[in-house]
Symmetry: C3
Subunit: 153 residues, 3 copies
């Protein structure tokens, strides 16, 4: 039986943090604030995958109060999500996501993001979609206060 899941996440842009999206560190004046590496793209995909199998959400598996996940690479969250699917006898057919970021330009990094996400989930790059859009200067994304991502699996 085919199932579908949706994920959404947002993190604030601050000075003095790295910007990590889809497992790729991207040079930028600001980075994303968070307990882990704050990889908003991997987090949204993680929730979409967990949601598709009704397995809860990233906050239940990896509480942001747990010191184990402080600064953790979000790859480990995706690996756990994929494991939860297998535990339930499932298989991920594909994942697709859109990153909402006013800046910087993400297009040059998309292929590597797809590879890293695919590796963490045990998929091929062809099974992973990553798209990027600005928010046309509108709202908190447009004001560069944060970066959001939404995903389906």
């Amino acid at each position: 039986m085919v199932r579908v899941g949706i994920g959404y996440d947002v993190h604030a842009l601050v000075e003095g943090r790295r910007l990590v999206l889809g497992g790729v560190e991207i040079p930028h004046t600001h980075g994303l604030e968070g307990h882990s590496d704050a990889d908003v793209l991997m987090h949204a995909i993680c929730d979409a995958v967990l949601g598709a199998v009704g397995a809860g959400d990233i906050g239940q598996f990896f509480p942001n109060t747990d010191p184990r996940w402080k600064g953790a690479p979000s790859r480990v969250f995706l690996e756990e999500a994929a494991r939860q699917v297998r535990l339930r006898g499932g298989r991920i057919l594909n994942v697709d996501a859109t990153v909402l970021a006013q800046r910087p330009k993400l297009a040059p990094h998309v292929e590597l993001m797809r590879e890293r996400i695919a590796a963490a989930l045990g998929l091929t790059s062809a099974q992973v979609g990553v798209k990027a859009t600005t928010n046309e200067g509108l709202g908190f994304v447009g004001r560069q206060e944060g970066i959001a991502a939404m995903a389906v699996a």
Copy 2:
């Protein structure tokens, strides 16, 4: 043939209203404004289900100008959405949703929400995903002006 649908809804947080999410009344200082019980989570799921079968949206079935739906429990909207699927010879495989709320903490209520949503749609809890995230203090959700939800079916 498998089909997919997406739903999104938002309601404003105001004083003097109950907060009902996924059919569960949650103690909070503010509640959601709306013609019905303003259950933003059930509304997003309702639209995802109707959208998957191309059956229109919640506003067409339940106009917020119709006194019949004043204060109505949103369960009846989900029941109608499920009926629309059956009328078209369809079957809901699963639904999954994310609630965007800065406060209060929703995790303790998620299991009951899943049961209530499942009951309204004629599904098992295992076929219903409910996830929650804050908006990290950003935008109208972060300022606690409203609560939003997005869903797929």
Copy 3:
């Protein structure tokens, strides 16, 4: 193998532009700013379709710096997305979308939007869902600074 994709887009509302949504010109005091006709609904659907097959996004196929797409009807973007699916041996089962617009009322135009989207993708209207919601006065959509759309395919 069934695949799923998600798309999101936003354009700013400005004076002196036409408002085109789902291929339908809608009478309104403001229109959407953009390089093409700025049809935010068709753009979101385009990205969902491209994302489902991991084919990149609308910005890669139709850069908004390319004079060929200046003022272009977004129908051509959907036609290309459908072609990308066919090139990969795929078939679109259905698409579904929600438009977030505080004003104007979109319900009277939804059926024609479905027909135009279906025509561009080589589908029947029954395979296309278009839903509309306000943002309850909240955020940039509520302030009528822009219109957003999200879609799945």
